[in-house]
Symmetry: C2
């Protein structure tokens, strides 16, 4: 283990130790290099990021647990709300601005730490109070403030710049967003180490969940077993996203588990359970899906679907390396899944080529094959300027990126095959699509619900490293469900 | 168990069954009666409430788990985001307006339920789409729309009214807020039953947490044991508030556990752990605090502090009944705590009367004795118009209500005694206050940290019913820590 210094983040014995100074220092240095390359000397100002603010539960005094905004966390690692951070593009000097809390807060929040203590904690060059910011920034006399301004390509939401804290210093919105977003796409080794840790903990959380299950268990008990393991054994306080614990036909609902469908079904014997859950450590996360029979044994139909999805995942992971287009991997997944369904007689009426051409793949896997992963579950940078545009083809249009793989990208590989009535029932009525569907077989497979298998991988120089370590073959899954050791 | 109907909320076998139709029907009927009493017939319009909206994690597509706004939940129990609800003050007719989602959402969110299905689920008179709302409301031709407008007395935040969905129908902001807020203060039996359930589950969660602990455990493991029990055994997905699991001197920090101090300390032998945690079921909650030695045995100093707090809690609960002023209960708690500290030689230099007069109580318990509890942890209605104003006296000014007790109020009883350096170190320097503090004793007690004991009680016609059932005497606590059965 690395030693525990003032700037070390960790959650106690056995948890990962992170040097904030090293991690964020390296991330700032790389950003600085790219900004300097993009900006002539006289246009090099001060990067200014506004961190997340305190929020309330509606009008009450309830305060949801604060979670830092991802760009702010990326550059500075600040855990507390209402901070700002700055980075001088000329000198590389890093600054933080902290709120000045009244002394009386100490009774409620604990001893108030001052700028010097936070400077050591965050490993920056200086920490000032927010109320000193206008003077500090004016004193540095930057030609401008480089601020975030752009659109998140998954949410469509605009990242809006903060107001200038010094009236006469203009905001510059054209440079920072694209450059820092691209930095976030290519992870440095220190970031990969955290995501690897979140995968070690999250993988073990899936095992704990599998072991907790038996027919009749409520879906949410499986979710809770996952959460409890990740927190207790890994110090991961929050899930990376609302867990999906979907049994039976619920597995076909891609975002099951939300408030309107809150993992509240009782599982039945012979059903599959699809668990899509990841944990968060130091704001970085994992995003893992396993699918397994609550009763411990796959039925023949479940196995057909499972093996088709597993073949897709294995072959995609084998084919992945720098230079490979993600859209080709998506197509490869469709090919393997359709091959499996064709062999089982669920689809037909043509060759796999014809089925692919007719977009039958999207009827069974309507989502993209995977997404970048990092400080957000659907991490940024999927469609930057100059990269291939979003496809309009069914299935492909849901892809969260269409980029060519590069070393350092962390991406999920999550093929799935679902029997979703909202897609398949209309398709059975459709004159073109129904040609390729074997009606009785499709209807008889509806009870399978769906299978998704999701790994997190990092692209290396020659291929990938798989970060997720969960049982994948049906034999491994059945063995773990029966109590075998894992790994 | 009540039968499971279309309008039943429950989380599976063994969890509480709630008839939405009965619960919200009664709550609406009582509100209606009071609004009719307050409004002449020609001024009786339509109550219009806007529910909570979908939120995002900053600019990402991450969606935090939706939690309904409390007033909207109170009247209608709607679990989903982006709804509105209306109640005709003339006729009592209840209406809901649901968002019209595109058919394609079915793939991601599950089969789309229509208005008829939701009408049965929520037990209202009619459900329409939000886009039909202007026409529906115009068709009812109400003289005005009664909307929420007021200030939450705990947060200081303003509850702002929605825009009128029909231009020519004016908003009326003067009536609804105070009346519905007062309704929320006095719980009906169906509400008390839910809070009782949240207390049964939360109490057992505390027992699970106590049993999981031993010296060296991380504070967050205790938190996780609580959460896991409440979810698995009770179907309570969310804590009512961010849990506080504070060991050693952290127990003196009233709101420990937040993002800047996230229950991340390793406990030591001989320390107390203060666990303030409650769970949420159907948005109603519990708020329970236990304090216990991680090693299983109280030290003599810990026992002194613990017994002083316990005496305060017991005597307050014995004294509570309709007609009693909450401020008097707060003073009674100070009296018992100071008596305990006086007997132990921690305070001195005067009688208990003199210590009370000199506000020495507030140095050891700087927070209020308790708060209303319901759909918010700090539930609404503490300082309504016409009730006693907030005191400016130390300790008393932190009271979240100064009201006289009435049957149906659900309130926490949470005396505490803390050795908080932010309060006591300056007091030891203060010429007046230091007179009453035994310096060496105060300093030697600092390591105790603090003790808080929090029960949830409902005021009855003749006294109270305690909803919380956790071990309280030092003997009970030590027995449970040693593995004895509870209850
Ligand atoms: Mn994913
Ligand atoms: Mn409380």
């Amino acid at each position: 283990d690395a030693p525990i210094e003032a700037d070390t983040y960790h959650m106690g014995p056995g948890t990962l130790r992170i040097s904030r100074k090293v991690l964020h220092g390296k991330l700032r240095a790389r950003l600085l290099e790219r900004l300097q390359a993009a900006l002539p000397e006289e246009k090099r100002g001060l990067v200014l990021l506004e961190g997340g603010k305190e929020t309330h539960l509606y009008s009450s005094d309830g305060e949801p647990l604060f979670r830092q905004e991802s760009y702010m966390h990326y550059l500075f690692g600040v855990q507390e709300c209402d901070w700002l951070g700055a980075l001088c593009v000329k000198t590389g000097c890093s600054l933080l601005f902290m709120p000045r809390l009244p002394e009386s807060y100490a009774v409620w929040m604990g001893r108030l730490k001052g700028p010097e203590e936070f400077k050591a904690k965050y490993g920056v060059d200086a920490v000032h109070y927010v109320d000193e910011m206008p003077d500090v920034i004016r004193g540095m006399a930057p030609p401008c403030l480089h601020v975030l301004h752009g659109v998140n390509t998954d949410s469509g939401l605009t990242v809006s710049p903060p107001q200038s804290p010094a009236e006469n210093i203009p905001l510059e919105t054209g440079t920072l967003y694209d450059i820092i977003t691209e930095c976030r796409v290519i992870k440095i080794p220190e970031e990969i180490e955290i995501i690897r840790y979140a995968n070690v903990i999250g993988s073990a959380g899936h095992i704990a969940a599998m072991r907790s299950a038996k027919p009749g268990v409520m879906e949410y008990c499986v979710e809770s077993a996952f959460l409890h393991h990740c927190y207790t054994a890994g110090g991961c306080r929050s899930p990376m996203f609302t867990p999906i614990a979907a049994s039976g036909t619920n597995a076909a609902i891609l975002h099951y588990g939300h408030a309107g469908a809150p993992n509240d079904r009782q599982t039945g014997p012979g059903e599959l359970l699809l668990l899509d859950a990841g944990c968060e450590y130091y704001v970085y996360g994992s995003d893992i899906t396993t699918t397994w029979p609550v009763g411990g044994k796959f039925t023949p139909q479940q196995r057909v679907v499972y093996e088709a999805v597993l073949a897709a995942q294995r072959d995609v992971e084998r084919a992945m390396k720098p230079g490979v287009a993600w859209t080709d991997m998506h197509a490869l997944a469709y090919r393997r899944i359709l091959e499996g369904l064709l062999a089982a007689g669920v689809v037909g009426g043509g060759s796999v080529e014809e089925l692919l051409e007719a977009d039958i793949g999207g009827l069974f896997m309507p989502h993209g094959l995977g997404h970048f992963l990092g400080l957000n579950t659907h991490d940024v940078g999927g469609y930057p300027p100059g990269s291939p545009a979003r496809s309009s083809r069914p299935g492909f249009r849901s892809l969260r990126t269409s980029r060519v793989l590069q070393p350092g990208m962390v991406i999920t590989v999550e093929p799935g095959c679902y029997f979703n009535p909202a897609l398949l029932m209309p398709a059975l009525q459709d004159p073109v699509k129904s040609k390729y569907l074997v009606r009785d077989a499709v209807l008889s497979y509806m009870a399978v619900g769906g299978v998704r298998l999701e790994d997190n991988v990092v692209v290396t120089e020659s291929g990938i490293e798989r970060l997720t370590q969960v049982p994948r073959s049906p034999e491994e899954v059945e063995a773990v469900m029966a109590g075998a050791d894992w790994p």
